[in-house]
Symmetry: C2
Subunit: 406 residues, 2 copies
């Protein structure tokens, strides 16, 4: 009997805890797994041997169900980039030593692009150094939906549901006044516009909002934007606009960059904020009507009261499948979703090759953005719609949601 280890990495999401719940489910169900350990704060927790015994903590079904419905990352996360083993293999040696010391035969790492880079490097290192007693698997997670080799990513559906819902509520709020107004809503997404596109799911027969959608995949032209807004105001009083935080101009520079902070994270990504405020200023200057901007902010990724049932079920299954695959001897792969053809939404869980995933960003195909550049196509709506279906009835205590807290 071997032990299993699971850890979480990257930005929080509303579904990553469902994925580790799936890992625990699989570990508890397998006669080949003694304990399921959780490493605190991702790969840093492995390096520091900072483990908790999850199968013990989550013995009860109710505890696991609560964990699956709790947002963010119950085990904590990190943004720690392993060095290239050709330059410095000490971290790799240390990880292997600690895993072996704890009799860990299966290591499941959940996360996004950067985390899959970690899993990939580690699995390559093991292969090249003859380490075959440790199976290393990735389980996808990213609200950005930008991982390759999977139809979509756990956490995305719940974030998309929050965003679509927020637009329905903002629409209610905008329509109360009968004076022309523009509301610019800034949605997360540096390079991939999937989340911004989800705003379109707010539309129905009675509510055509947002009227304008700008994804970061397509070069943004401020003059054209002003023209679009003016034309929209000619047709309707209250205009709601969805914009990706990472809008760039034709040269690839972030729009309104001068208003932004410019800080960088450990992976060299710039922290963005302020495209909404910038465009609010543009509309004030060029159009002069009532205008406000709304930054949906971190609630997009951590709103556990707005879970997509589809997302939570899939996320849990993906964790379980990664764990079961490791037990069966697979290594260096990621559990992934494959959408079946046909009108009814169905997915199959498959294994994907990490070499095709690590550090690749899957963005919205340009053909899914309309010609005029300020909307998305029906194909994209059809892709998105199934992912937000179903509600999860979460438990409340004393008026606020109950969460799993380690």
């Amino acid at each position: 009997m071997k032990n299993m280890l699971v850890a979480q990495s990257g930005g929080p999401s509303a579904a990553i805890n469902a994925t580790i719940t799936g890992v625990i489910d699989a570990g508890l169900a397998s006669s080949r797994v003694e304990h399921v350990y959780g490493a605190l704060n991702g790969i840093k927790g492995v390096l520091n041997e900072n483990f908790v015994i999850l199968d013990d903590i989550c013995k009860k079904t109710e505890t696991r169900d609560l964990l699956a419905m709790t947002p963010a990352a119950a085990l904590g996360s990190c943004r720690w980039k392993l060095k290239n083993p050709e330059e410095d293999k000490r971290e790799f040696e240390e990880i292997i030593r600690i895993l072996r010391k704890n009799n860990i035969g299966y290591f499941i790492y959940t996360g996004g692009n950067d985390s899959m880079d970690t899993v990939y490097k580690l699995s390559v290192y093991c292969r090249e150094h003859g380490v075959d007693d440790i199976k290393i698997m990735g389980a996808p997670k990213t609200i950005d939906n930008d991982l390759g080799e999977t139809d979509h990513c756990p956490g995305f559906g719940s974030a998309a549901k929050f965003i679509a819902t927020a637009f329905t509520e903002i629409a209610c709020d905008c329509y109360v006044y009968d004076i022309p107004s523009v509301t610019v809503v800034e949605v997360m997404g540096r390079n991939a516009g999937w989340l911004t596109a989800s705003a379109a799911l707010a539309r129905n027969e009675e509510r055509n909002v947002p009227q304008l959608i700008y994804l970061c995949e397509r070069a943004f032209d401020t003059e054209r934007f002003v023209k679009d807004v003016k034309e929209a105001l000619d047709r309707e009083n209250n205009i709601i606009i969805a914009v990706s935080e990472g809008l760039k101009d034709a040269r690839g520079n972030y729009v309104g960059e001068e208003m932004k902070s410019g800080k960088e994270d450990a992976f060299g990504h710039k922290y963005l904020s302020g495209i909404g405020k910038y465009l609010e200023q543009v509309i004030t200057d060029k159009i002069g009507c009532k205008v406000r901007s709304v930054e949906l902010n971190i609630l997009q990724r951590c709103a556990g009261y707005m879970l997509s049932e589809t997302d939570i079920i899939e996320s849990r299954n993906l964790g379980a499948f990664a764990a079961v695959s490791a037990i069966r001897g697979e290594t260096g792969k990621m559990s992934a979703l494959k959408r079946m053809p046909g009108d009814n939404y169905q997915v199959e869980i498959v294994l994907a090759d990490l070499s095709k995933i690590a550090n690749v960003e899957k963005t919205v195909p340009l053909e899914w953005i309309t010609e005029d550049g300020h909307d998305i196509t029906e194909e994209l709506v059809d892709y998105l719609r199934p992912l937000i279906q179903g509600e999860v009835r979460i438990p409340y205590k004393d008026g606020v949601p109950e969460h799993f807290i380690l």
Copy 2:
């Protein structure tokens, strides 16, 4: 048989539609009411004779229930201040003429301070001019909870529940990294800190967030704030701070005013934004740890998926009581909530005198703010806690909440 007229005014809330639902309920139930009209966009809709027949539209129980769960203001709102009748009585004469022309004997106006000012002026005008065939009643509404003569205000409980919940989610999000971090959360409230205080309802045995709470009732000292944050960081890694948007310094000037827009609305209120960003900058400059600011923004008042059941039931009852009181001959009053003494939360609906309500702002008593200025007392928590109890299971369609749309 007379007709009844209902209109909504002021900022949107998640419960004001429940109040007009109560008015419709009462109108439908009374043999003395022929139709319940709704005026679109508040008193402006009355002046423009822009009416819809609500008892017809909302004949079905399901339609009324959906209306009661729909956020914002289904009839639209306005920010229109009636002139002082001593200076210009034309608007008053016109309103009376239109009400009489439409055989309206009962006029129920829902709103906050400014709206109650409208109801008050109109009722005084009627009394002074011998208009006794039209009964005019107010029904309270304001997420700010700043109306006098009522224990609390419809819409506040749901906004408070959203805010408390948001803090539990933000806490989940903050705790994932093991590096020191500060999150400043800006909550609505120009002069009343009730909403900011609601952040404390996120606390339980396992989660002591927010660690610091600053209400706008107490003078804010930036140096003292930096000291508070440093001390909190000495004790814990992840600090979450709730601040009212309307924080003022000892001289009464808005803190960080230079960073704000300075635009004013029709009532001379300044539009505020930016205290969060300002304090983020202060912490970056003076402490230098990881810091971010979150503006909860308009979702606070329009999140229909986060309704307090207590709030929605009370709001509907307050609308019905105002309507029934008008039918019984009352005029110039507002339906209000009186909390009964005792450990178990119970309220009675009463009538309050509008002269004591119009243009008065009820702020948080200073004795409910702790001596050190960065927290609230248990008395205030006890006052707030019952108001967010109970959840409303709203209907979803195609993955997003269903709303009543006129």
